[in-house]
Symmetry: C2
Subunit: 342 residues, 2 copies
DNA sequence: ATTGACGAGACATACGTATGTCAGTTATCT
DNA sequence: AGATAACTGACATACGTATGTCTCGTCAAT
């Protein structure tokens, strides 16, 4: 049983190769009746286009762009280096991949940068910025140019993206809750929740998930109101030491976002090692070191290499018009401790 | 900057296309001097063979085989269905994938089945059986026929495999130890360790890892000698209920291998839900349900889809003579709870 | 001087698909 | 009916690589 080719289709349908090509590539100038016969032949013979041969013939190179937020964010740095790593892999075969760093804090700046893109030389964009009305419009504009867009890390539910590559942050929060609950089995006390900013939807969703699990399954643990850092190390030190002295029953700290370096510093200054359970998100040089040193009990992770490769695979599939294999593109919520660090 | 082709190499080296082809494909009839010039040109222009075009021209289809143990093993079932799922993906493009089930308990039977293989119609094998001298010889035989072999799940360190696809079981055991230690924070007591058989190297390595972490980091927890089930449900019930009554300070059960269904049944009969911390390996229908029901606190997992796809990617890369991307082929030790179940 | 082995080049064909040209055939509209 | 537009097929060329055949020069051994 050998794979059928366009020639087989042409023979089966009783039309010429040109007509088959016209049907397959959605060109005009083909009678409905013949189009039907070609489609029937495709179905009957189980023809699937040989994407490699097609791309070879098309001499096509894809151009993909990652739009990422700049800033003092270690997580983004790991994404950038994963993108660079992935360039030179089978995945980015026949594709050029670039990274564009934008100031995500300023929606207008983001949109301005997006407007400057040369859309004619672009096939797909993976974008990681908070969703604002301006951003939503910019994405609509990009998409109207026939460019595929996937949301990365943070979903953009109101923008018409082709795909979301990232974890479900509500589940991530629930996972944090379950982990804290099990780490504090049979204990009573309160949990400090910190993040850089509750404006980011990620933090909001994680907080919801956390509260749901703790309230339902671990009622002896109480979560304190979220403390926001606003990227200010001084504020981190001050608020943390204040919270620690204010809550004598404090049992754990859960950091939902970035700013882990300063937070860990502040913890080291104020409490003895191992006194509190400490949980954070994302594997960076900081959290990695903290796991090694025992300053963090566990980190909730979305594998960045997987994230980047998945985004590239999805964009390629969209461009090639092939199906994506859902199971492979599912980003898992991983729990990393010192012992299963990679 | 466009990708150089064989034509560019020929021009650069001042030889004909045929000569370039002879050098690139290791054929004879090339003067050393010319071979050098071609190699220099390849390096200078940064030529990399277009694998897709090459495979297209070669009209090549690869044939891969998964050799897996039969038996009442849910884990193997998940592998088989992952293999079937993956057939029909980009990964197995230009490849046929088969599964061969063998009776791993009988090394001679395994070897007999391996000897019956038509090696001329085979390009790569992913094999998951315990390593015995007979198996080692059979693998050497397969390899001597120019077929690539990767070890799956259990490493075969004394066989000359091309790759190992699976987790480090020593680290997996350490992860279990850390998890138990953190789940039983501030508690004192003993931990029951069960498995089907300590003959499998996986179990031995996991046990080593477990003991190392518990002894070093959690000295208040004591591990009991490993109980072996030998695939006997009655024995599971009997030994478990005996162990539970014999150790009044029992705090946790860690199941290192298969046989989880019967073990969970036995636990449900003998103890109240939530009384013990329960840990197991591998995500199957059984452990999945037990996580949902709260009968298992966590499962240590090697993602089976990833496992299968990695094996296929590695085999393809070996056949194509391309590099494998290590970071992508690293199988991670995942910790799954009800909240991050996928 | 002849033979033969080896090294090298020129050229052709193929893989499955894309795409263009051009001549020729229908269908549709006035 | 004639003009026009819509459709169709035959054919060629290309993508980058593989692989075959045929030719020819070189060099050493007979």
């Amino acid at each position: 049983m050998v794979k059928p080719t366009v020639h087989d289709i042409a023979r089966e349908a009783g039309v010429s190769l040109s007509t088959v090509d016209r049907v397959l590539n959605g060109r005009k100038d083909v009678r409905p009746k013949n189009a039907e016969r070609v489609k029937a032949a495709v179905k009957k013979l189980g023809y699937v286009r040989d994407t490699n041969a097609a791309n070879l013939a098309k001499q096509r190179r894809y151009k993909f762009l990652f739009v990422l937020p700049v800033g003092s964010n270690h997580f983004v740095e790991t994404i950038v280096s994963s993108v660079e790593e992935a360039s030179g892999t089978q995945i980015v075969d026949r594709a050029d991949v670039d990274v564009l760093l934008v100031n995500a804090a300023d929606p207008h700046a983001v949109v301005d940068r997006l407007k400057m893109l040369d859309l004619s030389a672009l096939d797909g964009v993976a974008i990681m910025v908070p969703e604002t009305p301006q951003v939503r419009d910019a994405i609509a504009h990009i998409k109207s140019a026939g460019i595929y867009v996937v949301a990365l890390v943070s979903d953009l539910p109101n923008s018409k993206c082709d795909h979301f590559v990232g974890i479900d942050n509500f589940s991530a929060g629930k996972t944090a809750g379950a982990l804290l609950g099990k780490f504090l089995r049979n204990e009573t006390g309160s949990i400090l929740v910190v993040t850089n900013s509750m404006v980011a939807r990620d933090s909001i969703e994680r907080r919801f998930g956390l509260d749901e699990v703790l309230a339902r399954d671990f009622p002896s643990l109480k979560t304190l109101p979220t403390i926001e850092f606003y990227d200010d190390p001084d504020r981190i030190h001050e608020t943390l030491s204040h919270a620690i002295s204010a809550h004598s029953d404090l049992k754990a700290v859960y950091s939902m976002g970035s700013g882990n370096a300063a937070m860990l510093d502040a913890l080291r200054e104020n409490i003895a090692p191992g006194q509190l359970v400490v949980l954070a998100h994302d594997l960076t040089s900081v959290t990695r070191q903290a796991l090694q040193d025992g300053d963090l009990d566990a980190v909730i992770v979305q594998n960045v290499g997987h994230l980047v490769r998945s985004a590239l695979r999805v964009l390629r599939a969209k461009c090639d018009g092939t199906n994506i294999f859902e199971a492979q593109e599912q980003i898992r919520i991983e729990i990393i401790m010192r012992e299963n660090l990679y």
